[in-house]
């Protein structure tokens, strides 16, 4: 795909707010542009507002204010045009328990205004290894299989934009792999994909760009590579035998922090850097006659990132 086409916006969200009755602000002033053909990950903890945002874009929930454009068309005024190009795999496993796989997938295609096309449905079912189950009633399927059915439904009408809301929650390794293969295949065919997750790893594995959302606010949107550099830091905690008043001058370059009333030194480093600086730090510590009892490391969690980001933003 050509560069200029990739950068073209396919979804534009402008000043979007959502307040649930009576006064819970689930989304606050969301502005976001999704580029055509990209895989965008919306990353945030539970209750951040990911599902609400997706639901508004897909027309399931009404926004309190603000607007959304898909291919330049307003999702309220031009809902026919905008909705027919969107497919949604919801977070919850909501299915018509009594229907067969084939019927439920064909139903969705019709609902989205497409003429029946058994070949296409067959292709999707085969891709999702559902073909053998096509005449099975959905209630007889396992959770993973139901998730596959939901994906098949979302793809039944050949959408240009696909939303995957927490696609890997409660999903086995095999389906995860199949799903990512499928997503990459779709992207090759020009489909734009927006997925939500609360796992950094997942966003890292799949996305081109990542948006971080917390408490209804989009804190940051960044290229994955840039963000991962920020997220890729680890902390080394050194518990000292004797508390320190301040960091000795020769240790300044390490940008150390004292914690726990001077009983602990914290060193933050980049796991992806060629040199993490740990060896040198330990050497300098011993030369400064600083002894420690214990050490441990922790990867900065999403929580830490949020805390940092929130601090930066206020």
């Amino acid at each position: 795909m050509q560069r200029n086409q990739t950068n073209q916006s396919v979804i534009r969200i402008e000043g979007l707010n959502k307040t649930y009755e009576p006064d819970f602000e689930a989304l606050r002033k969301i502005n976001l542009t999704i580029r055509r053909g990209e895989i965008f990950a919306l990353l945030g903890p539970n209750g951040a507002g990911k599902t609400t945002l997706i639901s508004i874009i897909c027309g399931i929930t009404s926004p309190t204010s603000g607007r959304v454009l898909i291919n330049g068309k307003n999702i309220v005024r031009d809902y026919r045009a905008t909705r027919s190009v969107v497919g949604l795999v919801p977070q919850e496993l909501t299915t018509d328990a009594f229907e067969t796989v084939w019927h439920t997938v064909s139903f969705t295609r019709g609902l989205f205004g497409k003429k029946p096309n058994p070949r296409h449905i067959e292709k999707i079912l085969r891709q999702l290894t559902l073909w053998a189950k096509k005449d099975e009633r959905i209630m007889n399927l396992s959770g993973g299989m139901k998730r596959r059915v939901l994906i098949a439904k979302a793809l039944s009408h050949e959408p240009d934009i696909l939303f995957l809301d927490e696609p890997t929650a409660g999903v086995d390794v095999e389906l995860r792999k199949d799903m990512w293969d499928l997503v990459r295949g779709l992207q090759k065919n020009g489909v734009t994909i927006i997925l939500t997750t609360h796992y950094i790893e997942e966003a890292e594995e799949m996305a081109d760009r990542i948006g971080i959302i917390n408490r209804g606010e989009l804190i940051l949107v960044e290229d994955k590579k840039t963000l991962m550099r920020k997220l890729g830091t680890k902390r080394l905690y050194l518990e000292l035998q004797q508390p320190l008043e301040k960091i000795p001058a020769r240790l300044k370059p390490y940008d150390l922090k004292l914690a726990n009333d001077g009983n602990c030194i914290v060193y933050t480093y980049d796991t992806r850097a060629k040199k993490t600086g740990i060896t040198a730090l330990l050497q300098d510590l011993s030369e400064s006659k600083i002894k420690f009892r214990d050490l441990n490391t922790s990867k900065s969690s999403l929580e830490d990132i949020f805390v940092d980001l929130l601090k930066e933003n206020t």
């Binding site: 649930y20 027309g59 009404s62 019927h103 969705t108 609902l111 205004g113």
Partner: protein, 253 residues
């Protein structure tokens, strides 16, 4: 117009009926046959004729209306309530369909089912009693109008209900009494004058009366008035549905 969507919803709903054929066709037919045996034979041996029509035949239009009313409401309310209950409504809400198309699909299917049911009961009645239909076209028109009107009404209940209890309470507490008191099993003129006046507030009286007229040319109220009342009720349902979709009441957050 998204005709594919209307077709999809319609076929989906008709398939559901095929799966639950016992509930939707066979059980009403059985209960109608029971009504014939109990009311037609037991009571009919006492009341032999109403205005020159044998009692067994007299109750046929009312019995058909009874089943058609209850099944229209049950079918249409369940049809839209169930996706709300399971959550699959997300799909309808996110699809490029207008409210009109949604109503057309669900109500169309529910009305079709009741129409089939009404005709099946009519055929069953033929086995028990002699029947002549004076105005077949009017008969079908009354039947179709009733199917549509009460399927719309059922749709409203299905949208309004937020539990299975609410889904059943209106048919049980409102419709069944109205039907039984609406001249299904008797002619309004058999009642004392006070009850005759009270009955005039029961909309079902107009339905049954008009429908019965199309069979036997006998009616408790003027046929024109019957038609007017059905039209009025139909319009009321349409207005309510239009309001519901305008405000998104209980469908969208």
């Amino acid at each position: 117009m998204n005709t594919e969507a209307v077709k999809s919803i319609y076929i989906f709903e008709m398939n559901r009926a095929r799966r639950t054929i016992f509930q939707s066709i066979i059980s009403p037919v059985i209960s109608t046959a029971l009504y014939f045996i109990v009311f037609g034979s037991a009571i009919g041996s006492r009341i032999t004729q109403v205005d020159g029509v044998s009692y067994g035949s007299f109750i046929v239009p009312g019995l058909i209306m009874l089943s058609v009313l209850t099944q229209s409401i049950a079918n249409a309310s369940f049809g839209i309530y169930f996706p709300k209950f399971t959550g699959t409504i997300y799909e309808i809400l996110s699809a490029p369909v207008s409210s009109f198309e949604i109503v057309l699909g669900y109500v169309g299917a529910a009305a079709t089912k009741s129409l089939i049911l009404g005709l099946v009961i009519l055929a069953t009645a033929y086995l028990f009693v002699p029947l002549q239909i004076a105005h077949p076209l009017w008969m079908i028109s009354f039947l179709v109008l009733t199917c549509i009107t009460f399927s719309l009404f059922g749709f409203i209940i299905g949208v309004w209900a937020d539990g299975f209890e609410k889904l059943q309470i209106i048919p049980l507490l409102v419709i069944t009494p109205l039907v039984f008191l609406g001249g299904t099993f008797y002619s309004i003129s058999m009642l004392p004058p006070l009850w005759q006046s009270i009955s005039m507030f029961n909309p079902v009286v107009y339905l049954v009366s008009g429908f019965r007229w199309s069979f036997f040319e006998m009616a408790d109220v003027n046929v024109g008035l019957s038609l007017f009342m059905i039209a009025l009720f139909l319009t009321t349902c349409l207005v309510i549905i239009w309001r519901i979709f305008k405000t998104g009441y209980k469908i969208k957050d």
